[in-house]
């Protein structure tokens, strides 16, 4: 199972992922998932710490899968967060705004 | 934890006697409701001030007839989101005419101080490294009120009629 940490950025609420170099990034593409459970827990712990440091809110481990060469969250809800509203494809990450 | 009353930090005068613990020889005590109900005459016979601490599941009706014997009622907030004690404080002040100290204990936060004060609390036990400043901040925010409560702050409606 491949996992990443998802959260909302505190200041603007934008959905972010814990990506390379332990930075919070806005796109799942910049976010190599982990298959190791202990690494996943370590990542989540970083998320919890980042919440305590007022960087993000609500860190959560989510499952992702590769779909046509890109990573997509498995759960509908998280897929929605990674993409933007399905009824307004002109908005959100899918539209790059 | 610091105790704040009348805008200043005060010294704790009451010894907290939990459950069935032995009473100190002398001095003011703060006991639970059950202890008060069980040991009422013994407590009065001590001749010192008595406070009763109510949990958020204990309505002040249980001590309504005893209030003349009490100088403090402490109302507990097990979590700041549990708002029962706001009603209890108003009942103590406005229904039962209690003049003694009504103390907020438990999960007491700066952001709730104002509501508590408006409901009739006059003493606050809360963890803060600057309780007096917090008090000033909490009181400075709002200066218009719509609800007539026992704190006698004039409401917008009353001021309009003047």
């Amino acid at each position: 199972m491949q996992q990443v940490v998802i959260a909302n950025r505190l200041t603007d609420g934008v959905v972010v992922f814990l990506g390379r170099n332990r930075c919070w990034v806005e796109s799942l593409d910049d976010c190599p998932p982990t298959e190791q459970t202990d690494e996943a827990s370590a990542l989540l712990a970083l998320g919890v710490k980042a919440e305590e440091e007022q960087e993000i809110v609500g860190p959560d481990l989510i499952e992702v899968a590769s779909h046509q060469g890109t990573l997509v969250p498995v759960k509908m809800r998280e897929a929605m967060r990674a993409r933007g509203p399905s009824t307004r494809t002109d908005l959100g990450k899918q539209a790059g705004n | 934890m610091p105790l704040l009353k009348n805008e200043a930090i005060i010294k704790e005068l009451y010894t907290r006697v939990e459950g069935e613990d032995t009473l100190p020889d002398r001095g003011a005590v703060l006991v639970d409701l059950a202890r008060w109900q069980a040991d009422r005459s013994a407590l009065i016979a001590r001749g010192s001030e008595i406070g009763v601490r109510l949990t958020s599941a204990e309505a002040p009706e249980a001590i309504a007839d005893d209030l003349s014997q009490l100088s403090l009622v402490a109302l507990e907030f097990p979590a700041f989101t549990d708002g029962r004690a706001y009603s209890y404080a108003r009942l103590l002040r406005e229904r039962y005419g209690f003049q003694g100290e009504v103390r907020a204990v438990g999960d007491v936060l700066l952001e709730q101080l104002h509501f508590m004060h408006r409901s009739g609390f006059d003493c606050f036990e809360f963890s803060s490294d600057q309780p007096e400043e917090d008090w000033i901040i909490a009181q400075a925010d709002m200066k218009v009120w719509y609800q007539p409560t026992g704190d006698k702050r004039p409401t917008a409606t009353q001021l309009r009629r003047r």
């Binding site: 609420g13 | 709002m142 200066k143």
Partner: protein, 552 residues
């Protein structure tokens, strides 16, 4: 419309500045998210799937053009150029930054608006009949009491940490457009045999996980006691409402568990103690507030306008719109205009900033500068001269706000669902879009006639699915959206809760199922029988049989 005086203005300004301080405390870490959450919720700020969402109160649905322009400005500057009308007569913005909030609240305060108590476990925005003050069949204007309740409930020190949220609705009409029986407190203004004004009081209604129709606990409450009586209800609830289980914390569960009679006894007992106190409303105060809702400067007009008649004959599109969107006004020569914000194939209740501004202009030109927001996620112009209707319609067409589907199947109530909402289990907007497309033909909609289709993206029922004649609720079954169909709900005077018909459907299946239900109704209805009447006459069986196959 009510206008703020210095006290009200100071109040919202102070509150905006206070939130500025609290946001600072949050950003600096003085407040943890757990401590901050209730504070931001009590200022209308949620954290949803994509960003923060701000819900701005529209007190009992009343809005003026300056406020609407301000909402447009907020949509444009701080959000993504649109807002969403909610089922509680409010407007919400989906893409708000926490760091912008102090500024946004000051902007709102400048036009007498705010987000205070639009969320949180406190008394929420009071809702009311969207035709208040103008409906032909109205007994009394409920807005006077809505405003008094609004002030009384604003930052109530005793009732800001209730077991759960608390919603109050008021109507002054025989016809209930405020769904008073689906609220924690529902107030129905009426007159007794002596001609005095008073309220029938309902408590314990509500939808969500465990839906209940409100119970009447008092047939007649003199109006001067409305605040003290509500205070008594809230005080009983604040002390006895369940706090051990969030799903059982609403007043409806308390009323249900103890029985409405026992509950009402406690309320009466509490009320007896406080009714003569400081909350008793002096007649002068009622009159002071009533003046704000005095009728505008109506002209004396004949009931019928010859041009209006001629224009309808000449322009079929206008005739269709006029047939569907107008309601009877209490003044001769005027009409109430319903403006649909559920165009075919678009998210119900979404409105762009350009539309908001255009609509504000129309309100200025034709409607004394005011407008209403409805719980059906639409807008209303309450006081339009019949002779202006044709011009108004042309301008609504240009704004994309002239869809003629009021009270028809295309005018769905629909919550944001999984496209936005953090609590959702399924999407709801795409369904509403598909259904309105399936029934896009206005003639077909008109032939089907009055019907209310409500849908929610989870059991919380913000889309009022239980009281839709047809209700749909989305559930998540093994990471696939599944939709349950219920029939027989009603939100009106004869309020009833719909019943689930059978197993759920997938996204396309549910659209087909709705169509099947409609076809059965058309086959089986008697002349002039509305959908709900046919359903009540026949019961669920014929629908079940056709959808799931007759039992062997």
């Amino acid at each position: 419309m009510y206008e703020y005086d210095e006290f009200d203005a100071d109040f919202v300004n102070q509150r905006a500045l206070q939130f500025g301080r609290q946001v600072e405390s949050r950003l600096s870490g003085k407040l943890s998210e757990d401590q901050f959450r209730p504070i931001r919720l009590m200022n209308g700020l949620y954290l949803q799937l994509h960003a923060y969402m701000l819900r701005v109160n529209v007190p009992y649905g009343c809005l003026n053009s300056a406020q609407m322009r301000k909402l447009a400005h907020i949509a444009r500057v701080y959000d993504k150029d649109y807002g969403h009308l909610t089922t509680r007569q409010n407007m919400q913005f989906n893409w708000i930054k926490l760091s912008d909030m102090p500024e946004i609240l000051l902007e709102l305060a400048s036009v007498e608006m705010h987000g205070i108590q639009s969320s949180g476990n406190c008394i929420r925005n009071i809702t009311a009949d969207e035709y208040a003050g103008v409906a032909a069949e109205e007994i009394e204007d409920p807005r006077v009491y809505c405003e008094l309740l609004r002030q009384w409930s604003s930052l109530h020190p005793e009732f800001s940490f209730l077991p759960r949220k608390f919603k109050i609705a008021v109507t002054g009409s025989e016809k209930d457009r405020a769904v008073v029986k689906a609220h924690d407190i529902g107030l129905r203004l009426h007159r007794n045999e002596n001609g005095e004004e008073g309220f029938e009081v309902f408590v314990g209604g509500g939808l969500g996980r465990t839906p209940f129709i409100g119970k009447s606990i008092r047939a007649f409450l003199p109006t001067e006691h409305v605040l003290s009586y509500c205070e008594a209800i809230l005080r009983v609830y604040n002390q006895l409402g369940r706090r051990d289980n969030k799903y059982k914390a609403r007043i409806k569960i308390l009323v249900h568990e103890m029985g409405s009679e026992a509950f009402s006894e406690l309320v009466e007992k509490e009320w007896a103690e406080i009714k003569q106190g400081a909350l008793a409303l002096p007649q002068a105060e009622i009159e002071r507030v009533r003046e704000f809702f005095a009728p505008p400067a109506y002209e004396a007009l004949p009931e019928e306008d010859p041009d209006f008649e001629a224009q309808r004959k000449a322009e079929p599109g206008f005739a269709l719109w006029a047939r569907q969107q107008l309601a009877a006004h209490k003044r001769a020569g005027y009409a109430i205009v319903n403006v649909s914000c559920s165009p075919v194939g678009k998210p119900p209740g979404d409105i762009s900033s350009a539309q908001m501004e255009g609509f504000a202009d129309l309100a200025d030109t034709y409607n004394f500068g005011e407008m209403r927001v409805t719980h059906n996620q639409n807008l209303v112009l309450t006081d339009v001269r019949k002779r202006d209707l044709f011009d108004l319609w042309k301008k609504l067409v240009a704004l994309g706000l002239a869809t003629a589907n009021h009270g028809l199947i295309g005018d769905t109530i629909c919550c944001p669902g999984l496209d936005y909402c953090a609590l959702a289990t399924a999407r709801s907007i795409p369904l509403a879009e598909k259904i309105s497309e399936r029934f896009a033909d206005p003639e077909r909609q008109a032939e089907i006639g009055e019907i209310y289709l409500n849908m929610s993206g989870c059991i919380n029922a913000c889309g009022h699915h239980h009281v839709g004649n047809i209700g749909i609720v989305g559930v998540d079954k093994k990471n696939t959206e599944l939709y349950q169909l219920m029939l027989g709900g009603s939100a009106e005077e004869d309020a009833s809760l719909g019943k689930i018909l059978g197993p759920g459907f997938d996204e396309d299946g549910i659209v087909d199922a709705v169509e099947t239900v409609i076809n059965i109704y058309i086959d089986m209805r008697e002349p002039n029988e509305k959908f709900i009447e046919t359903y009540r006459r026949l019961g669920p069986e014929p629908f079940k049989d056709r959808l799931y196959g007759a039992p062997a």
